[in-house]
Symmetry: C2
Subunit: 488 residues, 2 copies
Amino acid sequence: MRLMLTIGFNMTRMSDDYANLTELLNQVVTATGDFHKSLSDRPVGARKWDVVSDIELPAQGVGSSEALREFLARHGANLSGSVGPRFLGYVTGGTTPAAMAGDWLAAAVDQNAASPGDSAAVAVAVQTLDWLKQLFNLPVDAFDGAFTTGATGANFASLLIAREWAGEQVGYDIAKRGMAGAPPIAIYSACPHSSFVKVTRYLGLGENAIRPVARLAETEAMDPTSLEKLLSAAPSGEQKIVCASAGTVTTNAFDDLVALSSICKRHNAWLHVDGAFGLFARTVPELADRTSGIERADSITVDAHKWLNVPYDSGFYFTRRVDLIERATGALPAYLDVEGKGLPHYVNRALESSQRFRALPIWMTLAAYGAAGVRDIVRRNCQQAKSLADWIEASPAFELLAPTTLNVVCFRAIPPAEQEDGDAWNRGFLKALNETGDVFMTPGAYAGKTGIRAAFSNWMTVQEDLDRVTNAMHTTARTFSARRQETE
Amino acid sequence: MRLMLTIGFNMTRMSDDYANLTELLNQVVTATGDFHKSLSDRPVGARKWDVVSDIELPAQGVGSSEALREFLARHGANLSGSVGPRFLGYVTGGTTPAAMAGDWLAAAVDQNAASPGDSAAVAVAVQTLDWLKQLFNLPVDAFDGAFTTGATGANFASLLIAREWAGEQVGYDIAKRGMAGAPPIAIYSACPHSSFVKVTRYLGLGENAIRPVARLAETEAMDPTSLEKLLSAAPSGEQKIVCASAGTVTTNAFDDLVALSSICKRHNAWLHVDGAFGLFARTVPELADRTSGIERADSITVDAHKWLNVPYDSGFYFTRRVDLIERATGALPAYLDVEGKGLPHYVNRALESSQRFRALPIWMTLAAYGAAGVRDIVRRNCQQAKSLADWIEASPAFELLAPTTLNVVCFRAIPPAEQEDGDAWNRGFLKALNETGDVFMTPGAYAGKTGIRAAFSNWMTVQEDLDRVTNAMHTTARTFSARRQETE
């Protein structure tokens, strides 16, 4: 029997596009080349965009080529140069050519990497995770993990695992029975990243479960003595999760993980380390000692769209107890197990049930540039941060808020003597600086003061970019001062 | 001051790749063309992959072009043809040319769509969500939402919102204080998708919070009378969340949302609808009545990498109370608000703190093919399902397990008379069928029997594919029978 199917105009349009796929994709290649060539002139942080007033859904559409042209004409100029070398906001990496090629190929072949039943994608993911463990000098057999959408996804999975571990301590199945009747769980942290607070709320632990641990004098690092005291004084029956930092966002502080892991062992506490970018210090021999002890952690968060320079969304986690998230998820019917030939079902290791083949851009990065490539980026970005910090120290218009020890410079524009509100002055200065379009930085609070952060994490940044950044800082400091004096 | 930075060998290699970016990307275009040309001969579900034995991380790497070549040589043949027209497993869509172009461009410009501070990406996301509301005929002003990594991410956000709503009913802030002291929360559902169970566990509600509602006779749809009874009998003080389905995965059953929304209103229950693929029925006039009442829901889950045919990972949700997830997240320092010019901070609406520009492939799809393009795909896939169901009804080797009413055919290979275990027979048959490489289907249980599901959701599928699928079914039924008789 043969039933003829109606094929409409738009199906024909898709088929035409598909017949001309190479031509269409070549247009994307051209647009990509044009965009990347524009990085030098494009405002690093775009400040303009169309107000969304035209909200009518196209009834028929205009075809792919025309849609691409329309998008670029309407929005192209208002895209940020964030992938380029002078975006120093947040901790935003760029994209290496290999990673971009890998990401494109991931979309083109569109494998579902959640289950090993129908493709090599899961085998590639396993290999890529092994490579990453080697890159970070972690014991390959002790840790397992999965890819996530970023550090927040990795923190989410890690804290979920820690939560289930806490239940396991008293034989209470949280996934099944919920948090409502669970044993008390407390989270000890000195300087938790905002994403960590977010996942604490999402997981039903509640933000109030976070117990602030004291910091060592004049740093964001955890005071081990304070932690030891708090854990000793904890109510009996409380389950303890310690969240440590390998590289805080504002000042790059590293917790003493050797000390913390011993304390956690003594008090039967879970040790989670947010190493989303600080773990990369481990790839550089002269910086590697900062993360000593991380190999004893129970779970580790890593980001890939930051210092690994792959496109969004990309992260992963490592843990000694991947069985806990697999059990807590348990979405997998038993009969599918045989099809995996021993490979993991990532559907049970991350929030996503279907999963983009996000191992591929990382595989491509590591295959193309190797461990040395990652080390080069990290080392150069640290040198660049040091170079900017030196310039700031030598400048009368700026001061460092904290020592520069890795890739982040935390500083402050010195307000004129008559200007009492230094925080407001710095917010105004930052806005003016970002409006030059030469650089994009983000604010940061440290030691009770509002300052400015410059984070280096893009593979492309070179001396010329640093020069342009310091020129913009210099000029903005002068014009901003003059402008403010006029209006006062 | 000018500090000369050491530039290593691998930095040079990245720069060389970047200088030759167009050439590299053209290699990806060629590889993409080759892959797509291979779809007709490639096994739909690949059955082979390298065992991961070579786990040594490259020290130096081989450059992008060589890495691409190496990947394709080693793994290319073992990638699944899941993006093609005969992958009928799960509910897996393909990728339209426009969506692929949009996804590539998203990687190339690599905007962070989480905050509106530095790019037009958020404005584009707002417009795209508006278009989607129009596509699904939902009131644009009543609903807001965000993009997620898929239906599971959308279910997660929706249920998080519902959880916070439950706390709000009694003035208890769950995000802050945790689930441990929260009011009792129950979730009523007749046929929850596995991802829904997953997020119930993740959010600390616990799987046991799910109260099974009876189904109407011989369908997977919820019995409204049973729901009404259960809600009436619920303990006082219990907060109620009803999870309804617009299109179940196995038999495409639609809950009566008009009836359910009235019941929810009477009992002050939150109405969540998983419309991840069933909502698409709403784009086709002759099917639109199935989702009547969905416009009264409190939250709705939608998937995009399924029937919208964009690459992984892509989904979104709509809700009337987006303020609840924003409040529960609250990751945003107040001073960043001014920079948004009234646009939302998506960082507070999804798990991810940084977010890929995943509106772009959807924007491109809708701009290129319009509402008519989506409608064409849905309509044709439904016709194809009907056509396969007719063939099955006419065949002596197969029988339908449930009527085919949308895009999923749920059927069963009829075992020979002497074969007592029909479930085992069907599992064996499915394995043999998938091994032909002509089609990939997944199992499904219905009415106490193990059956097989064929879900049509790819834009490319045409009559020739159906012919190939039915040929494979016919041949496998014969050879599988013969083989089994030999061994018995």
